[in-house]
């Protein structure tokens, strides 16, 4: 980035936004923005609190279970749609609808089906993440170079080898991109689920903070979640870079 003829690192822009936040907070200009420094102080306090630990563990549990199943089901459905034309015709439309639908509106219905507990939250996480993983896996599988398919066939590859030694690797860059986006959606799913369902764990904390106008705590918790989502996303990004060397040369 160039600023007034000086080369400045990209992280500099983040500093500008942080400074802006601090100034607006100190001026008391907009009441929902307390100063960043105060938020950061609260963040440290929250991280040390027991009820945060409990909330984090419950949320992480729902997040991991939901994410696990959305990867398993999403990758399976993506492969099915990519390899079986009939499956694509049957499922394609629905997957696309669900991937773009406002799923939050379905959560109340899920409550009726799965009750007011952790199950509904897990299902919410699953539903938030699974469709994008399905779509990306499908994109990866259906764009595998047909020559590779023929090549494996000509050397007598079994069905199993075809999937594990060729198709999986060929589609892996797209699968990983799908999982990364699924993770980000799953973070939303946990919070929305907890807010709408039974106001437990993180949802309960968010709800309490905002109802009592504890905006410093509210933003601190939001920041923690942002950093968590970003952290996971960059972890998968790191794995993605491991396969980048061939992602661009698959044509």
């Amino acid at each position: 980035m160039n600023l007034f003829g000086y080369r400045v690192p990209a992280a500099f822009s983040l500093l500008i936004w942080c400074a802006l936040w601090e100034v607006i907070g100190q001026l008391d200009a907009v009441f929902i923005f307390p100063p960043l420094s105060a938020v950061l102080v609260k963040l440290v306090t929250i991280l040390g609190q027991n009820n945060f630990h409990e909330a984090a563990i419950i949320s992480l549990k729902a997040f991991s279970i939901g994410m696990f199943w959305s990867i398993v089901v999403g990758v399976f459905l993506g492969f099915l749609m990519g390899r079986v034309e009939a499956a694509n015709k049957l499922l394609g439309m629905w997957v696309n609808i669900f991937a773009s639908a406002p799923l939050s509106s379905l959560v109340p219905v899920l409550m009726l089906l799965f009750g007011f507990g952790q199950t509904t939250i897990i299902v919410t996480v699953f539903l938030f993440a699974v469709w994008i993983i399905t779509l990306d896996t499908y994109a990866g599988v259906s764009h595998v170079n047909p020559s590779l398919n023929e090549m494996a066939k000509s050397f007598g590859a079994s069905k199993w080898n075809m999937y594990t030694k060729v198709l999986f690797w060929a589609a892996l860059p797209e699968i990983l991109a799908g999982i990364r986006m699924g993770f980000i959606r799953a973070v939303k799913g946990v919070v929305i689920g907890q807010l709408l369902v039974s106001v437990v764990a993180l949802g309960a904390m968010f709800s309490r903070y905002s109802r009592s106008f504890l905006l410093e705590e509210f933003w601190a918790l939001a920041l923690i979640l942002f950093v968590f989502a970003l952290g996971i996303s960059s972890m998968i990004g790191w794995v993605e870079r491991k396969v980048e060397y061939y992602a661009g040369s698959r044509a």
Partner: protein, 277 residues
């Protein structure tokens, strides 16, 4: 029923004449694509053992389709393919395919790519990689064992494809325009090396190309296909004597040039026909 009797007759005559001589035989091959396009019609051909046969013709004459039917990658609408006298459906270990676009696994090193065929056959890892390394040296890629395909030039990638096909030790090599994606110098170098390798390995090669010069230079037998629907037009035997001659000397010989000219005259007619339409 009548086609069955016909194929039986062909089988009998083959048994009398050249049963041990023709490793690949195709009889009555017909291929109709969904939508009604007739790609091949009534193709009967025999490929002599240890010889190089080229399928030559303009684009759309079904030469690649025929090659893929022989490879077992495509099903024929009618007719049969026999390898060593046995009717085959689907790919088999006695045939290995070299692809026009190389078809290498971009995530695997050269060694892993060359060993792929052996891996599919269930050969144990150290053994198949040892064998792969031998063939990597044979095709002139020593030192590139641990490189990835995207780090290699087009010519080098096709050497990997060739090594992979040779490593499974199939009797029949099926090559689909293997040199069309490389530049002219590499192409000529490749033709030389292919002839040298085949001399050592004693393979039967079925080679698809649209280059007349290439066909005349490398082949023992050239099958000229006519387009839409693909049929056998004629079979040319170049009969080039390579002993003690350089590549340039052969290419300047009258015999070579006349054969090229002769084939060009035939193919030109198709081009003229196309233009008339």
């Amino acid at each position: 029923m009548s086609s069955q009797t016909a194929s039986l007759l062909v089988e009998e005559t083959n048994q009398v004449n050249e049963q041990s001589n023709d490793i690949v035989e195709v009889t009555g091959i017909e291929k109709v694509y969904p939508g009604g396009t007739v790609a091949l019609q009534g193709v009967d051909l025999a490929f002599p053992r240890g010889k190089m046969t080229t399928l030559l013709g303009p684009s759309g004459c079904g030469k690649t389709t025929l090659l893929k039917i022989i490879a077992g990658l495509l099903d024929a609408t009618a007719g049969e393919v026999r390898i060593n006298g046995k009717v085959v459906s689907g790919p088999g270990p006695e045939r290995a395919f070299v692809f026009q676009d190389f078809a290498l696994l971009p995530w695997a090193t050269v060694v892993k790519n060359v060993a792929f065929g052996l891996e599919m056959q269930g050969v144990e890892k150290t053994l198949r990689e040892k064998k792969a390394r031998e063939y990597i040296i044979k095709v002139g890629l020593a030192g590139f064992e641990d490189n990835y395909p995207h780090e290699l030039s087009g010519g080098m990638r096709q050497r990997v494809g060739l090594a992979r096909a040779l490593a499974v030790n199939a009797d029949v090599l099926l090559m689909d325009e293997p040199f069309s994606a490389v530049d002219e110098q590499t192409r000529r170098l490749f033709q030389e090396e292919l002839l040298r390798l085949l001399g050592m390995e004693n393979k039967t090669v079925i080679f698809v190309t649209h280059s007349i010069e290439e066909a005349v230079y490398v082949s023992d037998q050239i099958v000229l296909l006519s387009p839409r629907p693909g049929r056998i037009n004629r079979i040319v035997v170049p009969g080039i004597d390579r002993v003690g001659k350089t590549s340039d000397e052969i290419r300047r010989e009258t015999g070579f040039l006349d054969t090229v000219e002769d084939i060009w005259d035939t193919l030109k007619k198709y081009l003229d026909d196309e233009r008339m339409i």
